[in-house]
């Protein structure tokens, strides 16, 4: 998650005819690519899910159930059909946006995703806000004061984010800020006795604003702080590193010298001139970090009892609930690709040189 990824994004741009073909063709080409990639992801997931030597039904029925019942159940769910047949059925299903029925919650996986994804999305957005603001602030500070105290502190602080296991920091924060200090509420999305807002988008903060239910809003926000920080802090390092590198690069450019020659003070030079240029490559990294947040959520959600997609998939692993694992993973890959596409388009807008 660092400068190498920036190289990736530049490579994505050198797709044949990137600039001349115009933004629309660029988007169409990227969409086609995305579909191909998602198809690939689907195959990987299907192969893994069905190659695993254990059988899900045994897991579902628990240790005590005798073998005959297990086979009966398996037949009922059509798990004894040949692999190729099951693959074709699954692909047909995906096209109709029907990812099968989860063995555990036994309602359609798509409905589960609709119920669980907003929690992960809300966590990922807050985490991205934190990692972006923290990352850019630290990256700029360390670039401007290269090799001075601030640079060292900023880099160590941001790298620590990527150095500490998420579940450990999560529990530590809970221990200090909830258990000992009592400043922040405990795990979960909302206190039990707060009347939750009617689900419109599924994001508590937005739903509570729509409903004007301010108590739920504040409580939800407080609940979000720690998990979002734990998740976001991990992404800070890569954003800080990219910002620092591109900022160092920009500070050496001639136009920064012109800005100084115009008598602008240091803060203005950085804000108006250096930062604006330095942020362009950083934007693409935000897309990639957002993607990795969806994934980091798997650990954070367990520690903070967050009813998100990450936990849905991990619980799926506990009982080898194939449809849930496959559907969930595919969905995360879809969001990951869309996030990247949006960011690349944003990249084109931000940088006038790309605008055609």
């Amino acid at each position: 998650m660092d400068e190498a990824l920036q190289i990736i994004t530049n490579i994505i741009h050198d797709l044949p005819g990137g600039k001349e073909m115009g933004l629309l063709n660029f988007i169409i080409k990227r969409l086609l690519l995305m579909i191909l990639v998602l198809f690939g992801v689907l195959c990987i997931v299907f192969v893994i899910a069905n190659v695993i030597p254990a059988d899900p039904i045994g897991a579902l029925l628990g240790g005590n159930a005798p073998p005959e019942v297990v086979d009966q159940y398996k037949h009922k769910l059509g798990l004894d059909k040949p692999l190729a047949q099951r693959f074709v059925d699954y692909i047909a299903g995906v096209l109709r946006w029907d990812l099968g029925v989860s063995l555990r919650t036994n309602n359609p996986v798509t409905e589960d995703i609709r119920k669980f994804f907003p929690a992960t999305l809300e966590l990922a957005i807050m985490a991205t806000l934190i990692s972006v603001s923290l990352g850019i602030w630290l990256g700029t500070a360390s670039a401007v004061n290269r090799n001075k105290g601030v640079d060292h502190f900023a880099r160590i602080f941001s790298i620590l984010g990527v150095s500490m296991p998420v579940f450990w920091t999560g529990l530590l924060l809970l221990l200090i800020f909830y258990y000992k200090l009592g400043w922040l509420p405990g795990p979960g999305r909302l206190d039990i006795f707060i009347f939750p807002p009617k689900t419109v988008t599924g994001l508590i903060l937005i739903d509570s604003i729509i409903e004007g239910n301010w108590t739920a809003f504040w409580n939800g926000l407080q609940h979000l702080i720690m998990p979002a920080f734990v998740l976001g802090y991990g992404g800070t390092a890569s954003i800080a590193r990219i910002t620092r590198a591109s900022m160092l690069d920009c500070l050496r450019q001639d136009y920064v010298r012109t800005a100084k020659a115009k008598g602008l003070n240091k803060r203005l030079v950085i804000k108006r001139h250096a930062l604006r240029n330095a942020l362009i490559p950083t934007v693409t990294i935000i897309g990639l970090t957002f993607g990795s947040l969806l994934e980091g959520a798997v650990l954070t959600e367990t520690v903070f009892s967050w009813p998100g997609l990450g936990r849905y998939i991990t619980n799926g692993y506990l009982v080898l609930d194939y449809p849930a694992i496959m559907g969930g993973t595919l969905y995360i890959a879809l969001i990951y690709s869309i996030a990247n596409l949006i960011v690349d388009i944003l990249y084109a807008f931000l940088d006038p040189r790309m605008r055609v």
């Binding site: 190498a4 990736i8 030597p53 150095s163 296991p165 450990w168 993607g291 650990l299 690709s337």
Partner: protein
């Protein structure tokens, strides 16, 4: 020039190597100048030394149980205290460094190797080969790596080697991209054209010329990512898919100790700190190397 004395030959040797030595001097200067890189390299060096001399440093056997010494806080006898089996955490952390090194080296070789090869072939041959290989890379890139690692670990059964394979099968994408970019850049340089003109086979060109050029960017990336490899292994440990007990793998130690965090904080904290320091070391070293190799920052 009949009687070339030794000193003459030595002088020529130095003379012909002048630019290289000059370059190394500049690198040493930059290395000294950026304190963090120094810290990073010392941490990594320290980590490697501990791993090599673990048996001599560790006071106790990391797996030996002594239930009478259960859950002792850090003391002079047990520097980092003991865990729920009375095993000395200090010795387990020391031996843990061996496992961490083992994971890092293996994952770096496998993922670095696969990634670079795929990248170089894609970059060098271009056309269909490039398109296909890169789309495969995109697939793995779009795939949430922890979930993929979980899937592989679950498929092949939880064990240390499976964790290593799982992580490397997820980590190679970055190196593929890097190697491809490098290969593209080198492919159209004159001296490769010259090679081809002299009738060198593609494979000779790739392995003798293109591949060596990709080493430095890939190397930088490897150092940067070595830290995160340990973290992914820790994540797998937390989900119960990593190293099997009683192996003293840091990630599993942190995750096993998490239930004791409230009163026996040291069981989880010391391996956690070990992970943090080593990851920090690799990251700082990686950053340092990248700054040194990056022409723009070299002045």
């Amino acid at each position: 020039m009949k009687q070339d004395t030794l000193s003459m030959k030595w002088k020529n040797f130095i003379e012909s190597r002048k630019p290289l030595i000059d370059d190394w001097k500049h690198t040493a200067y930059l290395w000294r100048k950026s304190k963090l890189t120094m810290i990073g390299s010392f941490v990594v060096l320290f980590f490697i030394i501990i791993a090599i001399f673990a048996p001599y440093i560790a006071p106790y056997d990391p797996i030996a149980q002594d239930l009478s010494q259960r859950l002792q806080p850090p003391s002079s006898k047990h520097l980092f205290g003991t865990d729920q089996f009375g095993r000395d955490i200090f010795s387990r952390v020391i031996y843990g460094s061996r496992i961490a090194i083992w994971i890092i080296i293996l994952v770096s070789i496998i993922s670095g190797g696969i990634g670079t090869l795929i990248g170089v072939f894609a970059g060098y041959f271009g056309g269909i080969v490039d398109e296909v290989l890169m789309r495969i890379t995109d697939m793995f890139l779009a795939f949430p790596s922890l979930v993929l690692a979980m899937a592989f670990a679950a498929a092949m059964g939880p064990s240390l080697t499976n964790t290593i394979i799982a992580i490397s099968l997820v980590y190679w994408t970055v190196y593929a991209r890097l190697a491809r970019a490098e290969a593209l850049r080198i492919k159209n340089t004159e001296y490769i054209e010259a090679e081809r003109a002299m009738g060198a086979s593609n494979f000779r060109i790739i392995f003798l010329h293109v591949l060596p050029m990709c080493i430095s960017p890939v190397l930088v990336q490897l150092t940067l990512r070595m830290g995160t490899i340990i973290l992914t292994a820790a994540g797998l440990g937390f989900l119960g898919l990593g190293a099997q007990p009683p192996t003293p793998e840091w990630g599993a130690m942190v995750s096993d100790g998490r239930n004791y965090l409230v009163d026996q904080w040291w069981i989880s904290t010391f391996p956690g700190i070990a992970i943090a320091i080593v990851v920090l070391g690799f990251n700082l070293l990686g950053d340092g190397i990248r700054d040194m190799l990056d022409p723009r920052l070299r002045r």
